[in-house]
Symmetry: C2
Subunit: 431 residues, 2 copies
């Protein structure tokens, strides 16, 4: 089938899916969870092909690890789908309500966006997560996974589609595309697709933004900072910086640059760097860092802009809080940044002025995640500044529509000399 | 000054403007209102130049009318700015609050978007409205108005900038650009500008979307429908359709196509068409309409897709409610559509299934407007399906950031065998 035809079918399905009651969607999600459980061997078999192919083609270890599905992974997928079923429906919520005049009532209600194009990297479990979140939020979705996971994705989509369609979900609400060429074609279908969610490198997200008129919710890189303030508690600073860098360095919410106030650097840096050396963290420091601790490589300008995704860290000693904020707003990726301090004023200034999706005080950047934020699941972490920002769960997959209910009201009555006045009585406020 | 430099200055200003307290912003708005009042003669003089030039170049009557500023218009501008000062601040509102664990609190707070690029048509009063709304919502803005209003815009921006900057608004928070070339350059500055709001034709909005990576909030055309159901009250239907078409035909929320259920067409159409003929509405009907009323031109396929913005109307007799919904979702512009009926089920079905920003029941499409919806003012009416939809006021000019406040919390404690459990106690829900 052509991608144009696929998108048209998805569009038609989305209009029906948008008005399905919560119960029907949850029933379908339960059926999907069941089907995944019962189709374990088919999934494992398909995945085996992908892994063999990947090994042959010399894909690196880390990527192969992300590609592999085992029985434990399937159990996790099943649980994730069940979790999404348990989440509160984000569709049909009244955001605001205003009585414009007697008998003329305005409702602002959440509704699905329509058709979402989701493009993601090699992890095949993204298929189940994104499908479940889109279904629950009433959106049709066109998925494009990594080509290394081709067989796994195909098997998963087939199982999910079958289970959902035989449980009342409109046919074609979930579609899979497989080639890059199909992605370029999809980016042109602004008539049918209302939002593109690309997950991947900053370069990839920029490519997508350059090649489409469709709104893009960028889930891009994370150049996250921890700033250790002059008034920091040293123990907290050591723990938070270590956690932010070492607990799981391959992810977007790990720390890439540590900023340290000059007034605490001599006390803090030797202790911190010792800890990092024990954990085999490769460090690159600015001049002042290298004056305090020997044998640290020199950080180049490009280090401040690099997402290492690895046990590598750049370190800079800053003159004061404002220098730290300026550095973050200049080099960061507006993802997640944390201050360690016992000074409430400094914490407030930092959290207000740092222009990032998540700003933190005395907590590890690693907390920035849909599950930890209490969303149950996430489609990703948005570094965009419109629609949805930071970890995006079900509430980021809806928009709203206005419903105005009258009794034959016309505008002419509210215009001119004897114009009726609006009441504008607020019954529920947006915020 | 180069547009790149302008955008950088706007970006720097936006970071400071974002944290200004409501009082300071309102004080500046009051000063702007005052300055506009006191500079009436300078504004009128600049506008006179534009109008003379426009007449010389043969600009059409309607556009010249929109271009003209008189003392009454200045009073209206002053009032609008004062109104915006009175509106509740949309910045710093707590959207949600979750206690993730003891001592670890997550806040989701509204904040400004950053720098907004606003491109609009010839009406110079858009300058005051957009500037006031951006200032109040803490956003810097780069304005590009119609070239016909060049002198008027320049005068207004100079007055507004001076008044606001001498009242604590960061220098450069309001910028004007004047040429199309500067617009194309602006569209490339995704490092500094976070949102583009283009107002104008569908073609223009598409042009903008095609030439930028920056998110675009499309304020595009309105192909609005009124559907007269089989169960309509004829009197209400006559009033609503007449109001929707004739009260102010040049605007985007006027009706362009009237759909009539076949079961009521014979009774309703002759009465309605008589009224429209008296008001000199030019009508184009489908075959069934033309069978019921003589001397109606034949509607072509392209009529269903046309925003006339004039006393022209296309009319179609439909088989049932579903046909009406299908027609609207196929040909409409997702702006505003209304059903006239006494049947609640039909109204609900219509309002749920029509995929438009505003759906109405027994009310004129002309109500779809920021002021009438109780927003005080609007930057425009969005036909986009992400971020902000329908009439967009202050609340559409903000996004949110997450603030996480801990006491040294690290993620490692929540991972593995003896992992602590999250509490996820919801203190305030998003919706």
């Amino acid at each position: 089938m052509s991608i144009i035809k696929q998108a048209q079918i998805a569009k038609e399905a989305s209009l029906k899916l948008a008005v399905l009651p919560t119960k029907s969607k949850d029933k379908a999600l339960a059926a999907i969870a069941n089907a995944l459980k019962n189709s374990a061997s088919a999934i494992l078999e398909a995945n085996k092909k992908d892994v063999e192919m990947a090994k042959k083609s010399g894909l690196n270890e880390v990527l192969i690890k992300r590609l592999v599905i085992d029985r434990q992974k399937i159990r996790e997928m099943v649980d994730e789908v069940k979790n999404v079923a348990r989440l509160e429906d984000s569709v049909g919520k009244v955001l605001s309500q205003v009585e414009l005049d007697n008998g003329l009532m305005l409702y602002q209600l959440t509704c699905p966006i329509g058709v979402i194009g989701a493009i993601f990297e090699s992890r095949p479990d993204a298929v189940t997560q994104i499908s479940a979140l889109c279904l629950k939020s009433g959106n049709a979705v066109i998925l494009k996974g990594g080509s290394e996971a081709k067989n796994s994705n195909k098997a998963l989509v087939s199982i999910i589609s079958k289970a959902s369609e035989s449980n009342g979900i409109p046919k074609g609400a979930l579609q899979l595309i497989e080639t890059r060429e199909q992605v370029s074609q999809m980016l042109k279908l602004d008539d049918c697709i209302s939002l593109i969610i690309p997950r991947g490198s900053s370069k990839f997200v920029k490519y997508v933004q350059e090649h489409t008129k469709i709104p893009v919710l960028g889930h891009s890189e994370g150049i996250c900072h921890v700033y250790v303030d002059k008034d920091a508690d040293i123990k907290k600073a050591l723990d938070i910086c270590f956690d932010a860098k070492c607990q799981y360095p391959a992810v977007c919410n790990a720390m890439e640059t540590m900023l340290v106030h000059k007034g605490i650097a001599k006390k803090f840096l030797p202790l911190m760097i010792k800890k990092f050396r024990q954990a085999k963290v490769e460090m690159r420091g600015d001049e002042n860092t290298r004056k305090i601790v020997r044998n640290i490589d020199k950080a180049a300008e490009k280090d401040w802009k690099t997402e290492y995704n690895d046990l590598v860290l750049s370190i800079k000693v800053v003159g004061d809080l404002n220098d730290a904020i300026e550095h973050i707003n200049k080099y960061g990726s507006k993802h997640t940044d944390s201050i360690v301090t016992e000074n409430k004023n400094n914490a407030d200034t930092f959290m207000n002025l740092v222009d990032s999706a998540s700003v933190m005080w005395n907590a590890s950047t690693r907390f920035a995640d849909g599950f930890r934020y209490g969303k149950g699941a996430e489609v990703g972490i948005s570094t965009a500044k419109v629609h949805a920002r930071g970890p995006v769960g079900l509430e980021g997959l809806v928009i709203y529509k206005y419903k105005l209910v009258g009794k034959g009201h016309i505008v002419k009555d509210y215009i001119g000399k004897n114009a009726k006045k609006f009441k504008h009585k607020v019954i529920k406020k947006l915020f």
